[in-house]
Amino acid sequence: MAKVAMKVNGKQMSGDVEDRTLLVDFIRDTLALTGTHIGCDTSQCGACTIQLNGRAVKSCTMLAAQAEGADIMTIEGLAQGDKLHPVQQAFTECHALQCGFCTPGMIMASVGLLKDTPKPTDEEIYHGLEGNLCRCTGYINIVKAVKRASQLMAG
């Protein structure tokens, strides 16, 4: 057991966990932020995507201890109070979510891809979302939502 501490959604947080604890389990079980989901065991589905020091990563493929001292944002930290983040706004407007399980990871990955590619082409969106699986939407409306978010963010 060791203490790990990091900034999560702007707040300093810490907890005592076994060294083998994955970051996603720390976020969900220790910090009780259950918006970050686990959809597979092999780092393929992307449901656990968060922002680590401003970059999209899979929190299931990191140890909690690895994130010691890091700045993390989970889906719970994305909206500003009642005001949705433009990616969230676009997801709801475009009906880009159905069951919603993949959605937090999909949104975090979209935020990441828009950071690197503010005006993405369709191909760039497919490429940026390669690490995220959705079984409900067929991705059609997710792709639309990323484009819509790009517009919203451009103002």
């Binding site: 076994e18 083998r20 969900r28 932020l33 259950t34 918006g35 970050t36 989901h37 686990i38 959809g39 597979c40 065991d41 092999t42 393929q44 589905c45 449901a47 989970t74 889906i75 719970e76 994305l78 909206a79 949705l84 969230q88 997801f91 709801t92 407007e93 009906h95 979510l97 159905q98 069951c99 919603g100 399980f101 993949c102 959605t103 937090p104 949104i107 369709d122 191909e123 969106i125 497919y126 979302l129 390669e130 995220n132 699986l133 959705c134 079984r135 409900c136 939407t137 067929g138 991705y139 059609i140 409306n141 997710i142 792709v143």
Partner: protein, 768 residues
């Protein structure tokens, strides 16, 4: 109705991370369960030794099959209540909740380890020693019926648990014997892993004082889920509460209860603590019911003019090692219901043999028999067109059920409620630029690519169910709010948005004032009904709510009559207000509601119900594909879907259902397969590294069109929509691929049309 879609009511919670799926629930003092599962497909269990596991730090208990021997559990049954060939009934294999003396598939539950942490429980499962004696395996439906195949159960001969038939065998044989031409095809609808993105999980608590179980688990409706759980566990249904929560996808897989739930109930009571189990993706791969796994031989008889005279299908449907409740039902009834597809075929016959193999049990997966039937039927039609040298659209037109012939009784006796098939295909051909396709084929050919176009016209059953009716309630609450109560568990369909819209339209109040709630287990209104399955929820619960809302209006009229001191006949109801005709004197629905206590006795509260009915959504889909012969890669250039799903409640939600279901079908066509090594029954596609899943960009251009004929079968006039896309896309895309490969002389290719398989087919064709 061209209103702007403003998002769903459920979206905010799901997008901000405050939705609560099963794994997001915790209860004070909970323990953690991990299942040990069989690592082999077929073996006798000589002994199970959990001594070391029980001693492992943090372990509270290890429960094995022997521990459950006297638990009083029953073996699960099936939903099939009708007889098969020769009056036989389904032979149901006895499935213990934890294997006792024999395991029959990789993943079968063997023991439950309960510990103070998940990690400790995981560590301890590795310490359980099982002495297995391996047995030969059968891992494919065709292997199961071979002479000399190992028998899974001594009392189930030839591994066939049900032999079912419909239509008229003798009359069909007679037509085939004399037909001008017969087209024959054998197809396989391969085993599919449904893979809802939320892994299966459960949290079970037992309240000793109340003698009651609370079950938190992803499900497709408590009224469907609970009976199986109560039956197997022997716990009366009223002592089980299925807690409402968010469900991360179902697709049919989450409709029934599983051995895990029963074992967790047992453990929660025995240990006096809530127990949480969160399955891994691998566990989902090997224990969530698989879909399809069907081999079908089909034959179509026709006259000289390409007029279809008879159809015959012969199914081998793999049920896996045990039966799921719905498996035998969907693999028989859904074939029967659409035996002759969208065609006016006077006679037909279908035979379905359901077999047991050393594989994960199969059950409903989006479409559940519908795509398979549409697939064989529409592949036969395309093949017939080829053999008869008749244009593919033309041969269909010659055989369509005319619009005026609806309601139409098909060759198996099922009645299609309504439709206009010819209009669907006309629209689809036009929207897909079908007539100018050959120029595009040439263009691709000049670039070294094979281009193809394919269509399918299909009809599929929506509705039906086990409970005789579906009930819902409208309840007036404080502050001009209305609650809708229905025993359903939405999991992506958007019921929380659509159902208030249905009621709002009747009551003339803003939809925002209405909220859909699941069955509140704490203040239960006894409502009966079926699960969120079979493309049936809007038809039945939507109709029940519409009727309940009508009841509210009627009850309101009485109150308004008293309030306005006018005869009911002199009062009209419009836009949420009761007005004395020809005057300005009126009272609003909520004005009346406010005069009474907002509780169960509120005089405006009303219930509604709708009895079992069935509608038949239909569609015409067209896919255009391009194949790179160098790699075998199939690119879907355009997908056009024209669907008749009756009257529409919310267009955006309908379109969303179509997108998802088309892509699930395309996934099956292009890559998905749950693959067993036929020699040893090992499951080789147990991760997303090996199991193909559609990703963003798989279908780039998907155009959906509505061409709706109102269904006369329910008050809303709706048909189902959840499964139409999957039903249409299997035959559509394969027909397009075969069309692309036609210049090489290829007439059929089995799914999944992976790059390697397509490339191999091209190589083989080029050698000839």
């Amino acid at each position: 109705m061209a209103e702007v879609f403003k998002g769903r009511r459920e979206d905010r919670r799901l997008m901000t991370g405050v939705g609560r799926y099963t794994a997001d629930w915790d209860l004070p003092g909970q323990l953690y369960g991990v299942f040990l599962r069989a690592d082999r497909a077929h073996a006798l269990m000589r002994s199970v030794d959990a001594t070391a596991a029980r001693k492992h730090p943090g372990v509270i208990s290890v429960i094995t099959g022997a521990d459950l021997a006297n638990a009083g559990f029953k073996f699960p049954g099936t939903m099939v209540s009708y007889p098969g060939r020769g009056g036989q009934s389904v032979k149901v294999p006895q499935r213990p909740c934890l294997a006792r003396d024999r395991v029959r598939f990789v993943g079968e539950e063997v023991a439950l380890v309960v510990a103070t942490s998940k990690l400790a429980a995981q560590d301890a499962t590795e310490l359980i020693a099982i002495d297995y004696e391996d047995l030969p395996v059968v891992a494919h439906p065709e292997d199961a019926v071979k002479a000399g195949a190992v028998q899974l159960y001594p009392d189930i001969q030839n591994n066939i648990c049900f032999d079912y038939e419909y239509g008229n065998e003798a009359a069909t044989d007679a037509v085939f014997a004399k037909a001008h031409h017969v087209t024959r095809l054998k197809i396989e609808s391969q085993r599919i892993c449904g893979n809802p993105m939320e892994p299966r999980a459960a949290l079970v608590a037992y309240d000793a004082a109340a003698d009651r179980y609370d079950v938190y688990t992803s499900n497709q409706g408590p009224t469907m889920f609970k009976p199986g759980l109560a039956y197997v566990s022997g716990v009366p249904p009223e002592k089980i509460r299925i807690m409402p929560l968010d469900v991360g996808g179902g697709f049919g897989l989450r409709s029934g209860s599983f051995p895990e739930h029963v074992v967790l109930m047992y453990a929660a009571k025995a240990l006096g603590k809530p127990i949480k189990w969160v399955g891994s993706r691998f566990e989902n791969f090997v224990t969530d019911p698989h879909g399809r796994a069907i081999v079908i031989e089909g034959e179509l008889a026709m006259d000289q003019g390409g007029k279809f005279l008879a159809i015959r299908t012969n199914w081998l449907a793999d049920q896996g090692a045990y039966l799921t409740a719905a498996g035998p039902l969907i693999n028989t009834a859904n074939g029967m219901l659409t035996l002759s597809g969208v065609y006016n075929i006077p006679v037909g016959y279908g035979r379905h043999r359901l077999m047991l193999t050393n594989t994960t049990p199969t059950g409903p997966y989006r479409g559940a028999g519908r795509p398979d039937m549409a697939y064989i039927c529409e592949r036969l039609v395309d093949q017939a067109a080829l053999e008869m040298k008749i244009d593919r659209a033309e041969i269909r037109r010659r055989n369509f059920i005319p619009k005026a012939a609806f309601p139409f009784k098909n060759a198996a006796g099922a009645v299609y409620d309504s439709g206009d098939i010819e209009a669907l295909i006309n629209h689809a051909l036009e929207a897909s630029n079908w007539s100018s396709f050959e120029a595009r084929r040439k263009q691709s050919s000049a670039n070294g690519k094979y281009r193809g176009i394919g269509c399918a016209t299909f009809i599929e059953p929506a509705g039906g169910g086990a409970a005789p009716k579906d009930q819902a309630a409208v309840r007036f609450e404080e502050g001009d709010k209305i609650a809708l109560i229905a025993p359903i568990t939405p999991h992506g369909q958007g019921h929380e948005t659509a159902f208030p819209e249905i009621v709002a339209r009747v009551l003339g109040v803003p939809p925002e004032s209405i909220t859909l709630r699941g069955l509140d287990p704490h203040h239960s209104i006894p409502l009966m009904g079926n699960g969120v399955v079979g493309s049936r929820t809007a038809m039945h619960y939507g109709s029940a709510l519409k009727l309940a809302a009508g009841e509210v209006v009627k009850k309101g009229l009485e109150l308004a009559s008293r309030k306005l001191e006018a005869a009911p006949d002199d009062i009209e109801f419009k836009n949420g207000r009761y007005t004395i005709k020809g005057t300005g004197r009126s009272v609003g629905l909520f004005d009346l509601a406010r005069e009474h206590r907002p509780d169960a006795s509120h005089p405006l509260n009303a219930n509604g119900e709708w009895t079992l009915s069935r509608s038949f959504p239909s569609g015409a889909h067209v896919a255009e594909v391009e194949i790179d012969p160098a790699t075998g890669m199939v690119d879907i250039i355009q997908y056009t879907a024209v669907d008749d799903c009756g009257d529409i409640i919310n267009h955006t939600l309908v379109e969303g259902q179509l997108h998802g279901s088309v892509l699930q079908g395309v996934g099956q066509v292009l890559g998905e397969i749950g693959y067993y090594d036929r020699s040893n029954g090992q499951f080789l596609t147990g991760t997303f590294m090996d199991y193909y899943m559609p990703r963003a960009g798989l279908v780039r251009n998907l155009q959906g069109h509505e061409l709706n004929v109102r269904s006369p079968t329910n008050p809303l006039g709706v048909k189902g929509v959840g499964e139409a896309g999957t039903t249409g896309s299997l035959p559509t895309v394969v027909n397009a691929i075969v069309d692309a490969l036609k210049p090489l002389g290829i007439q059929h290719i089995d799914m999944p049309c992976t790059p390697a398989r397509v490339w191999e087919a091209i190589q083989a064709a080029q050698k000839h």
